[in-house]
């Protein structure tokens, strides 16, 4: 009980030194914001690029091509693909992007045939607003992924133009996959025409679903072997491996961002330690007073640790909450070469950031706490 009473006393004293506490809390909030943002980038990259056992989707790309504008595969390959053993479905897809390089606001158009939209996409996309019919009933109708719609503020019925393509939003769709959430689906003939191609001509890629996830690599090899002698040989990879390959720059950026996360934790450590050391310097007499009325060294150290924890907790809750809501409402994501990596906010990332900041905050207060506990009372009284 004594420890709880002393903790309450420590918090009361901290709350009455608002300026001292506020500056430290602000710094910790900024550092935790960075940490949460870094974790969100890391999670987004992991989700987009890390393969899982249940993955059944392949991307068939033109061999030795790495950009949607140079990958050209005859649309007619779809018939051959459907005959290859293990293939469940195949969607020819034309890709057009507003920006080929890494960018925070890339619009990825995905042109698909109406038949594929009904047979395949209708099963994996959940319509939040509008309808598939509204999408298909207009030549320039579009199904916009939820993240792209939030980022651009798009609603059903809106017209927007990007990369020289003008569309009317027929529906807003949600999906479990980041590529769908950040894409704008349009009808294939419309996109081919808008890009100066011809209906039934070339497409950028095929999206192939396999029956058995355990045979995904075997089917990929079979596809590439089948088209190897053709005029447009293919390179087939599981979707996440394809994204990792296409978004190498983003993966590298995310890896670098990991250092920012470490830097943010070091900043939390330095800020808490600095705040506590300065606080103890200015409160030499207060600590001596507490000791003179009977507080032993352990209680003095405890009160310092409580103060460190309180600063770290307040700052990290502020920073992690700000990061969560910024990412949640901003729906930020990086796009490159037609693939997208989202910065995904989550409660678990926020909690992890808060816990990490608090642990670091306690560690930062530990040495000053021990130092305060060992101080001479007489020196403390004189030092004021």
């Amino acid at each position: 009980m004594i420890f709880w009473r002393v903790a309450a006393l420590s918090l009361r004293m901290l709350s009455r030194n608002r300026l001292r506490g506020a500056l430290a809390v602000l710094g910790i909030a900024v550092a935790t914001f960075l940490l949460s943002a870094e974790r969100a980038v890391h999670r987004g990259v992991s989700e987009a690029t890390n393969a899982s056992q249940g993955d059944t989707r392949l991307i068939v790309y033109r061999a030795n091509r790495f950009c949607p504008f140079t990958s050209k595969i005859p649309e007619r390959y779809v018939d051959d693909l459907l005959k290859i053993e293990g293939v469940k479905s195949a969607i020819p897809m034309q890709i057009n992007v507003s920006n080929c390089r890494a960018s925070l606001d890339v619009v990825v158009f995905r042109g698909v045939r109406a038949v594929d939209a009904k047979a395949v996409l209708a099963h994996r996309l959940r319509v939040l607003d509008g309808s598939f019919d509204a999408f298909l009933s207009r030549g320039n109708g579009a199904l916009v992924g939820s993240a792209l719609a939030a980022r651009r503020g798009l609603k059903v019925g809106d017209n927007f133009t990007s990369a020289g393509v003008s569309v009317t939003v027929g529906g807003i769709v949600e999906s479990d996959g980041p590529q769908d959430r950040n894409a704008c689906y349009v009808q294939l003939p419309f996109l081919q025409s808008a890009m100066g191609g011809v209906q039934g001509g070339d497409v950028t890629q095929f999206e192939v679903e396999v029956h058995d996830a355990t045979r995904i690599h075997e089917v990929a090899r079979a596809i590439d072997a089948h088209f190897a002698p053709d005029r447009a040989p293919t390179s087939t990879r599981p979707e996440k491996a394809f994204v990792a390959r296409a978004a190498e720059d983003l993966v590298a950026i995310a890896a670098f961002a990991g250092w920012l996360g470490i830097g943010a934790l070091i900043a939390v450590f330095a800020l808490v330690a600095n705040a506590i050391v300065l606080s103890l310097e200015s409160r030499t007499r207060e600590i001596a007073i507490l000791q003179s009325v009977g507080f032993h060294g352990g209680l003095v150290a405890w009160s310092v640790v409580v103060e460190s924890l309180a600063l770290a907790l307040a700052g990290s809750i502020l920073g992690a909450s700000a990061a969560y809501f910024t990412l949640f409402f901003g729906q930020f994501g990086l796009g490159a070469e037609g693939v997208s990596v989202e910065f995904q906010s989550s409660i678990s990332i926020s909690l992890l950031s808060i816990v990490a900041a608090c642990v670091v905050g306690i560690l930062a207060g530990f040495v000053p706490a021990l130092s305060a506990a060992r101080r001479s009372i007489v020196e403390g009284m004189r030092g004021a």
């Binding site: 004293m13 030194n17 207060e286 003179s292 009325v293 060294g297 009372i377 009284m381």
Partner: protein
């Protein structure tokens, strides 16, 4: 074990400080006895060792050699934590510069020692209110130290010293920073605590008028007891 009748007994008490290469000996082989329930003033010129002696009796400084018994406790043999526990229950300290925590109210300052005692919030509140009433500051409970006069601050410090009802009160120049009127009030309070409540009081002072309130004046010089005189304070 303190086998004499004295409440405070020093034997060959020595305190040595080191300041760089310099050795300072504010107390050297001091022998001293103070009876329970007495009001004693410690007098002497600056550097005579009176504040050092008070700090040793308060258990906020460590004995270099010799023994220092307070009741049945040999402070010279106690660890820092044991001394802290002893202070929490056995002694109240009043400083010249009041030493109140500036961010706590008068009530909260007085409550500080009780946080270390096993008692409910209501029991603490009763004790704090009684202590503030004793020093005639019930109406200033919610005031911060900066909102009080020097005399009021010192009375809050006295309330904090007595709230846990320790048998021993130590005062280091309690009237040194006060005007005559406030000083008189503080000395009246100390006299009352000694006479009515039976507290043993040891007070360091330069002021002959303050020393006159005690029953015995102990004169120190160069770390040793020069003489003990009857100071005239009534018991």
């Amino acid at each position: 074990m303190n086998d004499g009748n004295a409440f405070i007994r020093c034997s060959k008490l020595t305190k040595v400080y080191h300041k760089g290469d310099q050795e300072i000996v504010p107390l050297r082989d001091l022998d001293l006895e103070i009876e329970r329930g007495s009001f004693v003033s410690l007098m002497g010129p600056s550097g005579s060792g009176k504040t050092t002696l008070l700090n040793l009796i308060a258990g906020i400084d460590s004995v270099t050699s010799g023994s220092l018994w307070i009741g049945d406790n040999n402070l010279a043999a106690m660890s820092r934590n044991q001394l802290a526990a002893w202070r929490a229950h056995e002694v109240g300290i009043i400083f010249q510069s009041y030493n109140l925590v500036p961010v706590l109210t008068a009530y909260e300052n007085v409550e500080l020692p009780l946080l270390l005692h096993s008692m409910t919030r209501r029991e603490r509140a009763q004790r704090v209110e009684a202590a503030l009433a004793t020093v005639l500051l019930s109406d200033r409970a919610d005031h911060f130290p900066r909102q009080l006069s020097g005399g009021q601050e010192q009375r809050v410090a006295i309330a904090r010293a007595i709230v846990a009802e320790p048998p021993l009160l130590l005062a280091d120049e309690p009237t040194g920073d006060l005007d005559r009127e406030s000083a008189t009030m503080v000395l009246d309070l100390l006299s009352e605590l000694n006479r009515v409540h039976g507290r043993t009081i040891v007070m360091v002072t330069h002021d002959p008028a303050a020393a006159h309130r005690a029953q015995i004046a102990l004169h120190l010089d160069k770390g040793q007891l020069l003489r003990a005189t009857s100071a005239g304070g009534a018991h």
